[in-house]
């Protein structure tokens, strides 16, 4: 084995499995449980320690129409909210499956040992969140993601204990490869045959051979400077899928969460959960004005309160009052904050004020939002029970992802599946808070089951891993060691983050995005010349050098799609095209690689593709008046009832 100076006798481990799950967040773990329960030998591979994936950071809750708090809730209402939130660009089938199956998936967690907060009659308690008509988020204080990931992790352990009782080996059916990064997917012909990666701990390589790979690698937020996302979010899954021949959709839609911390600078971007607003927190500008009333867009006029009085009554009497505008979908709130700051009404550190202190008694704040209290106290010296927080938008979530079949989560590539944040379509142009955790469960499980069925259908013939692909992957992974005197990966990453933040951030313009594309081109050259100091044992410089290639590729996808879509919708706001256009609602932007090879040779191609049309029974869940705000006249024409119903000026939110 060599240490960095090219390859001579590079050894690697080889592991054979039925299903490889890349990612140990909610989606990956749920997929692995499903695959194992279907009898597959399953591997879980993740970059961090087991149990530390991003899902652990989710705070607010998991959305599922359990109807525990408001019995009027059901999957149809949830489906409607999801489509509205995504501005009707969602893959309707995914939204439908999600709304229908989320309750079952959440209840299942209780059988794994989860302990959600309870209602008086002992059911799972649910809380309000932006864009959800009824209290819908199953939660545990403000640490729901922790509960979710720990529960799934413990379920995996319980399956391993079962296997141990049967076979004497905990890892006979599920094995976790923690701190192991996958850098390449391997194919045999057009089918998936495995994956290639390295142990972070010692820099050694491993080859997985398996007919099915489920990507559950999460998002891309680390490409932006101000982000709530961790170092893991380098878009690995997105890039792996592209390089394996799959396609990405909706990459222009990046969610900026309206409330991230803004000061001190070192914590800028860290999330302030939406539950603060769900539990009564309000946004104010430097003049003390509760400004959100000025930013209710037409499409939402019917559902949101227009006065502080009405808004405040809603917390206790939601049936007879409209919701406070602080709970508008995230994209609206984020843009509103952005405008206030631009108009000079921002807080001292360049955000706005989020005030819960004057709205709830201190003890209740501490009980309902313990980790927020803790976070502000320890990181910013702010006592949120006594003073307002300063908040501003932060890059949070990518709606875009691998294009998959709604029912099976399979990508274009046979054997390659994607679930969770890395998959695209479910959330359309904007995700509702709480819909991610339930998405992970619903589609994680579906991907696991579908992958198992696919493997089952193969019979004895398995795609193979060739030595040449392994050799090529090895060479690519070691390349940065061969370069002497090149740049430090951390510097390039900072430059990338800065330009994505400035040029393809929350508000976009054609010239700026074009500028970004040029910068990215330039960065590609620099990344190819990155050099790495030190050896292969737990070397973050090396790890980042490899991740950078993914960040670049994915950033380019975001920029390309953002340039193409000349309208504003959800997580994509074009200063030069501020309106939402019905014509654009019909179009998905699909990205794929048109040529592959070394980083410098990869080219991203973009195609337009029609958004799948909703079947009539789903369309009928909406009022004609509401649809008319999103759809083109031609689309509406074919609608049953279109002629009978007089077009309503404003829909009365059902």
């Amino acid at each position: 084995m060599t240490d960095g100076n090219g390859t001579t006798t590079e050894t690697y481990e080889r592991h054979d499995f039925d299903v490889i799950v890349i990612g140990a967040g909610g989606a990956g773990l749920r997929a692995a449980i499903a695959a194992r329960e279907e009898g597959m030998r399953t591997a879980i591979v993740c970059k961090s320690l087991f149990g530390k994936a991003h899902t652990v950071m989710a705070e607010g809750g998991a959305a599922a129409a359990l109807g525990n708090v408001n019995p009027k809730d059901n999957w149809k209402v949830h489906f409607r909210d999801t489509m509205r939130g995504g501005k009707f660009l969602n893959n309707y089938r995914m939204a439908e499956l999600h709304a229908k199956e989320a309750p079952q998936r959440v209840w299942e967690l209780e059988t794994y040992g989860a302990l959600f907060d309870r209602t008086k009659d002992g059911r799972i308690s649910q809380r309000n969140f932006g864009g959800h008509e009824y209290p819908r988020l199953a939660h545990v204080g403000d640490r729901t993601g922790l509960e979710l990931i720990r529960t799934l992790q413990q379920k995996i352990v319980s399956l391993q204990q079962e296997d141990f009782r049967e076979t004497g080996d905990y890892e006979s059916r599920i094995k976790v490869f923690a701190e192991c990064t996958v850098t390449e997917l391997i194919k045999d012909g057009d089918r998936i045959s495995g994956a290639f990666g390295y142990w972070r701990e010692n820099g050694r390589f491993l080859v997985f051979s398996a007919p099915a790979v489920i990507l559950a690698t999460g998002g891309i937020g680390k490409s932006f400077k101000v982000t709530s996302n961790s170092w893991e979010y380098t878009g690995d899954g997105h890039a792996l899928a592209l390089r394996a021949g799959a396609s990405l959709i909706n990459m222009e839609f990046v969610q900026f969460h309206p409330t991230g911390m803004v000061s001190p600078p070192s914590v800028k971007g860290i999330l302030v959960t939406e539950s603060v607003r769900g539990d009564g927190g309000v946004l104010k500008n430097s003049e003390g004005e509760r400004f959100m009333f000025n930013y209710i867009p037409d499409v939402f006029k019917a559902q949101y309160a227009t006065s502080a009085e009405e808004a405040d009554k809603w917390y206790t009497d939601p049936d007879n009052n409209r919701r406070p505008p602080e709970l508008l979908p995230r994209d609206e709130v984020a843009r509103a904050i952005n405008s206030e700051v631009k108009a000079g009404r921002g807080s001292p550190s360049g955000g706005v004020f989020l005030d819960i202190a004057s709205r709830l008694p201190a003890a209740e704040i501490q009980r309902k939002l313990p980790s927020m209290y803790h976070q502000f106290k320890e990181l910013a010296d702010v006592d949120i029970t006594a003073e307002p927080m300063e908040v501003g938008p932060t890059c949070h979530y990518v709606m875009g992802g691998v294009e998959v079949d709604a029912d099976t989560q399979q990508s274009r590539v046979p054997g390659l599946y994607a679930a969770g944040e890395v998959s695209g379509g479910m959330h359309g142009s904007n995700r509702l808070g709480g819909n991610s955790l339930s998405d992970l469960l619903v589609f994680g499980m579906r991907a696991g089951v579908a992958a198992a069925q696919y493997v089952g259908s193969l019979g004895g013939t398995r795609p193979a891993v060739s030595e040449e692909t392994v050799a090529a992957a090895t060479e690519a992974a070691l390349a940065p060691f061969a370069i002497q005197g090149g740049e430090n990966a951390f510097t390039i990453q900072q430059d990338l983050q800065q330009s994505m933040n400035d040029l393809v951030g929350i508000i976009r313009k054609a010239e700026e995005v074009e500028q970004a594309l040029l910068t990215l081109q330039d960065l590609r050259g620099r990344v190819a010349k990155v050099s790495v100091a030190g050896g292969r044992v737990f070397n973050p410089g090396w790890h980042l050098a490899l991740d950078l290639r993914n960040m670049l590729l994915v950033s380019e996808c975001v920029a390309k799609a953002a340039l193409e879509r000349t309208e504003s919708r959800g997580g994509h706001t074009r200063d030069d095209h501020p309106a939402m256009e019905s014509e654009w609602r019909k179009i998905n932007l699909v990205l794929s690689l048109t040529s592959t090879g070394r980083l410098e040779d990869e080219t991203v191609g973009l195609e337009r593709q029609p958004v799948p049309t909703m079947p009539t029974e789903l369309l009928q869940l909406f009022e004609w008046g509401e649809l008319s705000k999103y759809m083109t006249p031609e689309e509406l024409e074919g609608l049953p009832g279109a002629t009978k119903m007089a077009p309503l000026p404003e829909s009365e939110g059902a």
């Binding site: 961090s48 320690l49 149990g51 530390k52 652990v56 950071m57 309750p103 079952q104 209840w107 209780e110 059988t111 794994y112 040992g113 302990l115 907060d117 309870r118 002992g122 059911r123 545990v140 204080g141 640490r143 922790l146 509960e147 720990r150 413990q154 379920k155 352990v157 319980s158 391993q160 204990q161 905990y170 923690a178 701990e201 961790s230 170092w231 893991e232 000061s263 001190p264 600078p265 070192s266 914590v267 860290i270 980790s371 803790h374 976070q375 320890e378 990181l379 910013a380 430090n488 951390f490 900072q494 790495v532 100091a533 030190g534 050896g535 044992v537 737990f538 070397n539 973050p540 410089g541």
Partner: protein, 259 residues
């Protein structure tokens, strides 16, 4: 605003290592992890460190700062005097991989030895009913972010490597307590706590509680109550007699018919 601070960071691997001195810029509001990142970006690009959330939520960035187990992302630089040397070393109790990164597999192995939640056989998903007051005790323990600092500081294994075999550590003894207090768990865990997981080795000196970043009262709420439950079962003839006379299941009020 910014000033230079004297840092000492342990660098090395399982073959040896030493404390390296650095002078590094510190700005307002920064935490120790920011400084480590600055070292990575400017002076030591291959400095190994674990982190994820940078907000005290994932428990990845555990290390020892001036000899005390801390989350680096939650240790503010303002808690040190400007001329006070800040020494950052890896967690001591577990094998070092490199620099500040240690091999924490002990914890995962112990996690696997704790029998999992046993759900009631007669309840389908969706039928679970639990009262808030009944789940609260276990919920406190489920706040755990698995930073493993309690296991690291616990002298039972920190100072006695040979005990690792028999001792699950506060984190996983707390897991036993969590399940034992779960309103619907069907397993009997009290004998095992003592026999398999080494509850008796804990001498309740409370270092685990002192370091827990989630402020979980590990000793008062998990370990001592667990010890008391073990006493119920193993060392208290009165309780045994009471159970006999009242014909309660030995497992207290577990079966739903008796309470």
């Amino acid at each position: 605003m910014g000033y230079d601070h004297h840092f000492r960071v342990w660098r090395g691997d399982d073959t040896g290592g030493e404390l390296d001195d650095f002078s590094v810029e510190v700005n307002d509001g920064e935490v120790v992890l920011d400084i480590i990142h600055r070292l990575q970006a400017t002076q030591a690009p291959d400095l190994a460190v674990r982190w994820n959330c940078k907000a005290g939520k994932c428990g990845s960035c555990s290390a020892e700062v001036n000899g005390k187990p801390r989350l680096m992302c939650m240790t503010r630089m303002s808690t040190f005097d400007k001329d006070e040397v800040v020494t950052v070393t890896p967690i001591r109790t577990f094998p070092v991989i490199r620099d500040l990164v240690t091999d924490v597999s002990y914890n995962y192995e112990k996690a696997r030895e704790i029998p999992s939640f046993v759900p009631p056989a007669d309840l389908a998903p969706g039928e679970y009913r639990m009262q808030q007051v009944d789940v609260e005790r276990s919920q406190e323990f489920r706040k755990c972010i698995e930073c493993f600092m309690c296991n690291n500081v616990c002298h039972v294994i920190r100072d006695h490597e040979e005990n690792k075999e028999q001792f699950a550590g506060p984190r996983y003894l707390m897991r036993v307590a969590e399940l034992d207090m779960h309103p619907l768990d069907q397993a009997d865990r009290q004998h095992e706590a003592q026999e398999q997981h080494g509850l008796g080795m804990c001498n309740i000196t409370k270092c685990c509680t002192e370091v827990c970043p989630e402020h979980i009262k590990i000793t008062d709420n998990a370990l001592i109550p667990m010890k008391e439950r073990v006493v119920d079962r193993r060392y208290d003839p009165l309780v045994w007699l009471g159970n006999k006379i009242l014909r309660r299941t030995p497992d207290r009020d577990r079966s739903s018919t008796t309470d």
